[in-house]
Assembly symmetry: C2
Homo-oligomer: 117 residues x 2
């Protein structure tokens, strides 16, 4: 099931965690990040470039990522890589997510050991 019907803003407040998450296992360039998010989310996250690129720049400005240009198949790519600060931020955001999702479960009555439909 897609989330399009939410009417946009579907990852509000969680996008940076998602970006840090996909970069945890190794550096990727922007376009590949979009694909990874789609694949790893089972097609739920179809995030437009206008969402991803500014967010990557914000994360770089914040010191969570570094980037470097590379050339592949005649195409220039900007590869993003987690910094130590980025790993710390990811760890913090994971905790926040755990807390948040548990809290949501407490309110709407979704069993924690669930996700089960």
């Amino acid at each position: 099931m897609k989330l399009d019907d939410i009417g946009g803003q579907l990852v509000k407040g969680h996008l940076e965690m998602l970006l840090l998450g996909v970069l945890e296992q190794g550096p990727l360039h922007g376009y590949a990040i979009i694909e990874q998010l789609r694949k790893r989310s089972g097609g739920v996250f179809e995030l437009p470039e206008g969402t991803i690129y500014p967010a990557l720049h914000r994360l770089e400005d914040a010191g969570c990522l570094t980037s470097s240009w590379s050339e592949a198949a005649g195409r220039r790519r900007r590869e993003y890589r987690l910094t130590g600060e980025g790993r710390e931020a990811l760890a913090a955001k994971r905790e926040q997510w755990t807390s948040f999702s548990a809290a949501v479960g407490g309110v709407i009555g979704t069993a924690l050991a669930g996700g089960a439909l």
Copy 2:
């Protein structure tokens, strides 16, 4: 752990689901809704009135809630009650939440049968 450090917007995109969720088991007035959200979330959701009241009005405008004034202990209260439409909306948002949280788990590697700290 609180979520204050997120820097606001802590329930972005999920507030309406939370409100519908607390009203599922019976009508409540606004102030009581705030307390219920705090209690049921284990203290994570400390939502200000300026967040809750406009959201309740939006939900009423959307046909998900009806309201009626009542008097208790010399204080006027507006009691909100789920409509049939509201229950449908809640069911839909529950499914969206399940899909969303599963997708997040797929990206950041949180086991679904988790939430476990």
